[in-house]
């Protein structure tokens, strides 16, 4: 039970009071039974990541519990993408730990992390532009050798547009379709935890709203989600809890509903004056 203990310890540092409220709010939210009793799926503890001489993350603590949607918010350059890339094994931390299901995974190379059950839809979508939609999805199932028909059906069920365009070369898709493909591709690896890096980037509000509905559906189907966003309003409406990252440090954390109404958030990220 070391993982639970460590999880609690992390939360104590983040603030006990916040923790208790997180449990209550989550239960109020659409019956999503996410409370302090649910084990932590992902834990970052004192995570520090350097880019050369620059420290991008200055020792952050973050917990994602089984079944949650957790939003990681912050401005450009705050370190959000760095956090996701470190979880995926693309970057090595200088200090601290990444634990997934209680096991340390920092230092595990990226091509093994996906096999542990972490799917990553990267910043800028990064679809394989010269491959077809279907080939992209098959790449998502690379670790299984062959894409299971039920996984393809699931992705096509979530994103009917991709089913219509399965033979189309991915580079010719619209931005929204490419984002759907990037998420669908990550789902093909049957992740327990889905990392989404700015799915709303560069997309029209109506597309963003649709996309976030689908992310909610993916979560309802049982996939835990860590969502990195600059679009704080959208992200917090979907999320159970949120963290706010500023220049490599966690500045605020708590239940999404509270963050959404916090005047500091409204001012900094929702473009409202603190009147």
């Amino acid at each position: 039970m070391t993982s639970t203990t460590a999880g609690v310890a992390t939360e104590v540092r983040a603030g006990v009071a916040t923790e208790v409220r997180a449990g209550v709010t989550a239960e109020v939210r659409a019956g999503a039974a996410v409370g302090a009793t649910v084990p932590a799926l992902l834990e970052l503890a004192g995570l520090r990541v350097d880019h050369g001489a620059i420290t991008a993350l200055k020792g952050i603590d973050l917990t994602v519990r089984q079944g949650e949607v957790v939003a990681l918010l912050g401005a450009n350059g705050a370190g959000k993408t760095t956090a996701l890339r470190t979880i995926s094994g693309l970057l090595r931390p200088a200090a601290g730990e990444v634990r997934f299901g209680g096991e340390r995974i920092d230092g595990v190379p990226a091509h093994h992390v996906v096999g542990l059950g972490i799917g990553h839809s990267p910043e800028g979508r990064r679809v394989f532009a010269d491959m077809s939609v279907l080939e992209n999805l098959q790449m998502g199932a690379y670790r299984f050798g062959r894409a299971a028909p039920e996984d393809l059906d699931r992705v096509f069920g979530l994103f009917p547009r991709l089913a219509e365009r399965r033979r189309q070369i991915a580079g010719t898709l619209s931005g929204g379709e490419q984002q759907m493909l990037a998420i669908g591709r990550a789902l093909m690896g049957r992740p327990e935890l889905l990392l989404l890096d700015e799915p709303s980037m560069g997309l029209a509000p109506i597309i963003v709203a649709q996309l976030f509905d689908i992310i909610g559906e993916i979560n309802a189907q049982g996939t835990t989600v860590l969502l990195v966003e600059q679009n704080a309003a959208q992200a917090l409406r979907l999320a159970d809890r949120g963290y706010v990252l500023e220049t490599g440090e966690i500045r605020m954390s708590g239940p999404a509903a509270e963050l959404l109404h916090d005047p500091r958030i409204r001012e900094a990220y929702l473009g409202e004056s603190a009147a």
Binding site: S88, L90, P109, A110, H111, H112, V114, G115, H120, P122, R126, F128, A129, D130, M131, E135, Q138, M139, G140, Y142, R143, G145, R146, I169, R185, G189
Partner: protein, 306 residues
Amino acid sequence: MSPHEFWDYLVPGVALGALYAVIAIGYTLVYGVLQLINFAHSEVFMLGGFGSLIVLTSLTPAHPSAPISVLLVLVGLVVSALCGGATAYGLEKVAYRPLRRRGAPKLVFLISAIGASFFLYNLAGKLFGRDPLPMPHLYDNNVVLTVFGARVTITQLLLLVCALLMMVGLDLLVNRTRLGAGIRALAQDPETASLMGVDTDRVISRTFVIGGLLGGVAGFLFGLNTQVSFTMGFNPGITAFAAAVLGGVGNIRGAMLGGLLLGLVESFNVPLFGEEWRYVAAFVVLVGVLMFRPAGILGVKIGRAA
């Protein structure tokens, strides 16, 4: 040029072109995954030639019967493929991987490639002697068929059939297998490929080996057609590199097309302009095409099928 002469030059041109195509694939595959021209690939080809020469010299009887001849050719193909594959594997491990680990600039890879090439061909000269050696007499190189009056020898037919089989096999491997998907994903976006579970180091190593298998076999076939020597890699290597660039470096079907084209140009250049211009024409064509299509005929893409 009479119509009869046309066919007389077409047949060896196509055979030579097929060979260039097979070597060019080795350059283009490695370029696809590493954006690096493996200038030591000509030595992979040369060592494929020597490997098969040495083994066959010790095995070949004075007058092999037909079944023995077939067997010897198969041995030659397998041995040359293994030598080529092993050389390419070793090159990647020794000359490139340590640089990749350190994130060395591209120029350093180029210098390492040229250094490895010098080392290998001088080593071959020292070990195997500096005089060209003929392949042992595996079969009587008779004319097996005539195309519009042009004679096609066993060696030419063998060369063509082997090259064709290798190209078809490679195309299937790249477009239909899991390893092929890994190679294409890696060529497009190494980082995202690793997020999909592609072990990039392993795929790079296997890509070298595949190119090496093809290059080694090409060395054996080239040796059958002419001779084996420590410098035999130079001209075909440069021409095949030109073929890869001509077709669009990184593009597998482009390399096949470029190889075939340069084989034909080289062959027809001899009657039209004279033997001394044999190796010039390929580069004139290269410069000419690149002036109008800098990315090569089919463009620079490995991920796309054509």
